[in-house]
């Protein structure tokens, strides 16, 4: 979680920021799934034996969240591509210096 956030904040490359975001989100997904585990639990399938089973709801929530995450990453990558086409670089510093020049 922290690793992903660290990448987002420190890296100068927009592509790396998107990847950092994906790592950050995946970490949160894993956190959610870990919440669902019940000790000695099995998969929540009805059987004749009385079993403790893990909570399926967080998994379902995370399925939704994964879809959202994929959409976010896809849009982020599409934007990076467009930025590259317009600026011919995806390094934050270079783009900032380009913008400074064009403002003058």
């Amino acid at each position: 979680m922290v690793g992903g956030l660290f990448i987002i904040i420190t890296s100068q490359n927009y592509l790396k920021k998107v990847v950092g975001l994906a790592i950050f989100q995946t970490a949160v997904f894993v956190f959610f799934v870990s919440l669902a585990k019940v000790l000695d639990g099995t998969a929540p399938i009805l059987t004749k034996m009385e079993n403790a089973y893990s909570n399926p709801l967080p998994h379902v929530l995370i399925l939704t969240a994964i879809v959202v995450g994929v959409a976010t990453s896809a849009l982020g990558l599409a934007l990076v591509l467009q930025i590259y086409r317009n600026y011919e670089t995806i390094e934050e510093k270079e783009i900032q210096s380009l913008e400074l020049k064009s403002d003058k």
Binding site: I8, L35, L61, A65, L75, G76, L79, Q82, N86, E99
Partner: protein
């Protein structure tokens, strides 16, 4: 036949725009996407009015999706708190869609019209979902749909200025971090209570009356995530570039409604759910939200004074205005919440009107609107300029406009809470708002150059004037907005006492 639709009105106001948005993306025509969107939003308004009628009879609607009873299924809740916002939302999106056509035509490739309106309706549907949902995880989904739709809309501004791409990218990264923080909070809350339904959450949380660290951590994560999304002061940095480089029609929609709906949910979470830990709530409100609001008001206004680009100026003034709203909400009593809701309504109208007028100027001169480029516009385009003037005066809070009502109630609320320091600060920043708005007026009416008036487009100035007239009408006959806000505050406070 029609009754079937009315029974499901609560779901349809969200589902209808989302469904239509999926269809019109594939229509290659220039004009049909706009017409279909307009028809959809008229239906949307009819459904909202029907909901208002239902609410005035029953006072509460809980719509269960797929007939799964809450707390198991997802539910929408409509009550006194959100019905006013729902109506405002419905009316404003209709007006801004009417306004948007000419603006879109001149700012983006006309072949993309269908896709642009598809995203437009997607944003509208999901923002409406934020208003109605009663499920904290469902909120996250709507939050992300609306964020992704608005990011794509902002990126459409790249045809005008490539900086729009950078603005959209920053919004994406910061917004996604905010949303993910929110999800972490939801995870903590779910781990402790096993529920996601807001009403059930209150009941389940009550068993930890002494408070557990995990719950406080979860609450803090949720609040921080929402603060990022609502652009509350220190985490607002994505907002000014996003609003100023987006296509003008998009800035109108986002500035008027996007942050407002999230602020509304923020308040609902605070006063409906987290209120069961009064000590935590007052800690958050007094030592986090209250000082941050004051900083937002002051710094937002100061930065706005030094802006040359008008859309950026308006965006920074939005930061300050969000500060007024959160200041009102941080007061913890009926008068504070009422004045917060009044300002949500009024500011949506004012900022909407201002962004519409500036957006029209931008397409008239085919360039970004800066202070110097506005020279003599008061004579060149008198109709739109006059609307801009009225909305601007309302932003400052001049009597006879709805901005005055907001300020009046805010001062009253602050006075009853004996917060004299904040009264002084709000007064000073209102005076500073005169400074930045006067700069615009000076350029528009008091510059050396005189222009003959030119023809203006009725399709564009009509919606601008509808907003402007409502700004004046709600300034004189303010009872409607005040009643709705009172109702919202009543409902929130009554939950507090139970």
């Amino acid at each position: 036949m029609f009754n079937i639709f009315l029974d499901d009105a609560a779901a349809l106001v969200v589902v209808l725009p989302l469904l239509i948005s999926a269809i019109i993306a594939f229509i290659p025509s220039k004009i049909w996407p706009w017409i279909i969107s307009l028809v959809t939003l008229v239906l949307h308004l009819v459904l909202s009015l029907h909901l208002l009628k239902e609410i005035s009879i029953s006072g509460l609607i809980i719509y269960e999706f797929g007939n799964w009873e809450p707390p198991w299924g997802i539910s929408f809740k409509i009550d006194g708190v959100n019905i006013g916002l729902q109506l405002l939302f419905s009316i404003f999106v209709l007006i801004s869609t009417f306004y948007s056509r000419k603006i879109f035509l001149s700012e983006i490739d006309s072949r993309d019209s269908g896709k642009a309106y598809s995203l437009w309706l997607l944003a509208i549907g999901s923002l409406n979902g934020i208003i109605l949902t009663n499920d904290i995880f469902n909120l996250f989904v709507f939050l992300e749909i609306s964020a992704l739709a608005s990011i794509s809309l902002i990126a459409l501004g790249a045809g005008q200025n490539r900086k729009a791409l950078l603005a959209a990218f920053n919004y994406l990264i910061i917004g996604a971090i905010g949303a993910t923080f929110y999800v972490i909070g939801v995870g903590f809350a779910y781990a402790m209570t096993g529920t996601l339904n807001m009403n059930d959450l209150v009941i389940q949380l009550a068993q930890y009356s002494d408070g557990q660290l995990a719950i406080f951590a979860g609450m803090s994560f949720m609040l921080i995530g929402l603060m990022v999304k609502a652009a509350i002061f220190p985490v607002h940095i994505w907002l000014p570039p996003a609003y100023s480089y987006a296509p003008s029609a998009v800035s109108t929609l986002l500035a008027a409604l996007a942050t407002k709906t999230i602020l509304y949910f923020f308040v609902r979470l605070l006063y409906e759910v987290f209120i069961i830990y009064p000590s935590y709530l007052s800690l958050f409100l007094d030592f986090v939200l209250y000082p941050l609001s004051l900083l937002a008001i002051f710094i937002g206004t100061l930065i706005a004074i030094y802006q040359d680009d008008i859309k950026k100026l308006l965006a920074f003034s939005s930061i300050a205005q969000i500060g007024y709203i959160t200041l009102a909400f941080s007061l913890k009593d009926h008068s504070g919440i009422t004045s917060g809701f009044i300002h949500i309504f009024n500011h949506a109208l004012i900022k909407g009107g201002l962004f519409m007028a500036v957006g029209y100027f931008a397409i008239l001169q085919k360039d970004r609107v800066t202070l110097t480029s506005l020279k003599g516009f008061g004579y060149k385009y008198p109709i739109t300029s006059f609307a801009l003037l009225i909305c601007g005066l309302s932003l400052i809070g001049l009597p006879l406009t709805n901005g005055f009502i907001s300020k009046l109630y805010l001062f009253q609320a602050l006075y009853t809470n004996q917060m004299y320091f904040s009264i002084a600060l709000v007064a000073i920043s209102s005076a500073l708002a005169v400074a930045y708005f006067w700069k615009i007026v000076e350029q528009m009416w008091f510059s050396e150059i005189k222009f003959k008036s030119e023809k203006e487009d009725a399709y564009i100035y009509l919606p601008i004037w509808i907003i402007t007239v409502s700004v004046i009408v709600f300034g004189i006959y303010s009872s409607t907005i005040i009643e709705f806000s009172n109702l919202s505050a009543d409902y929130l406070i009554s939950g507090y006492q139970n």
